[in-house]
Symmetry: D3
Subunit: 65 residues, 6 copies
């Protein structure tokens, strides 16, 4: 009953999310032998002003480039 | 100091959420004897295109029916 | 496909956990009309020295009483 | 590689979030000696009708005052 | 800066976990084009008496077979 | 009612954890003006063989040095 919870920045289309959850599920099944039907994936978006690395938001980092 | 974090698909009204957090809190108190005031519940919505079971999003599953 | 993730302090028996997940599932079903089979609950223990309220760990608070 | 995941109620500006993630990162570094660059912080907002204490949502509590 | 947080039942070796995080990272990169170095994966084990589906713990379900 | 959930690798003493939760709580209060008593912090340890960056576990990275 594995559970895979993803956080990522916004900007993916529904098609890209569908591809992502499919790839992650297949990866889990390949690595562990779990039944696909037992794998749950949730995807949550965190805005670039709400995610920081080293104390700087991703929004601030993007603005500095 | 129990913490109950819920993820569910969208579509619940504020009244339904209020009922849900009340029910979950009461259930926790009943099962464990905790003080109600010590119980926190958070509810987060995950869209149907961002939740998958067996590699298919809930949106895709609903569309197939 | 609701997901209920609980964090609590240690000290519950397996029987108490079984009772807890049953109560939480029933509460969710009552409040929302979801199918029981669709409800996942995970329970994770956080030690009293790893949980704080107001900056004091639960371990420190217990010692002060 | 510490990960700090914050849930809070809405209403903070981007500037306040930037200040918050900076402060939390600095606090982590001060307490542990970790390298700042290794610290990730994510901030997620939970609406007042989706967070409860003692079974009452924060929205209901605010309305009662 | 994607973050992938996995919950699964115990019983995997360190080698299996290493394979799992490699597969999940590769899957994320394939689906999104992210840089591998930006992908974090954490794996957490939830015991079979602390995970329920439909109100029954996985431990209880295994015992019924 | 902010909630701060930390994941870090093992090896901190109870004193270091107490210092950490104190620092994080103070940082949150400084940045937002929240009441200290409203701030919860949980700390969870993720072993070095269960955390990966770029597909390599922290255990594997440490071994390569």
């Amino acid at each position: 009953m594995p559970l895979i919870q993803v956080k990522q920045t916004p900007g993916k289309t529904a098609e890209q999310k569908a591809e992502l959850v499919r790839e992650l599920t297949d990866a889990y099944v390949r690595a562990t032998g779990a039944k696909p039907e037992s794998v749950w994936v949730t995807v949550q978006e965190i805005a670039a002003d709400s995610w920081s690395v080293g104390g700087d938001t991703l929004a601030a980092r993007a603005a500095q480039r």
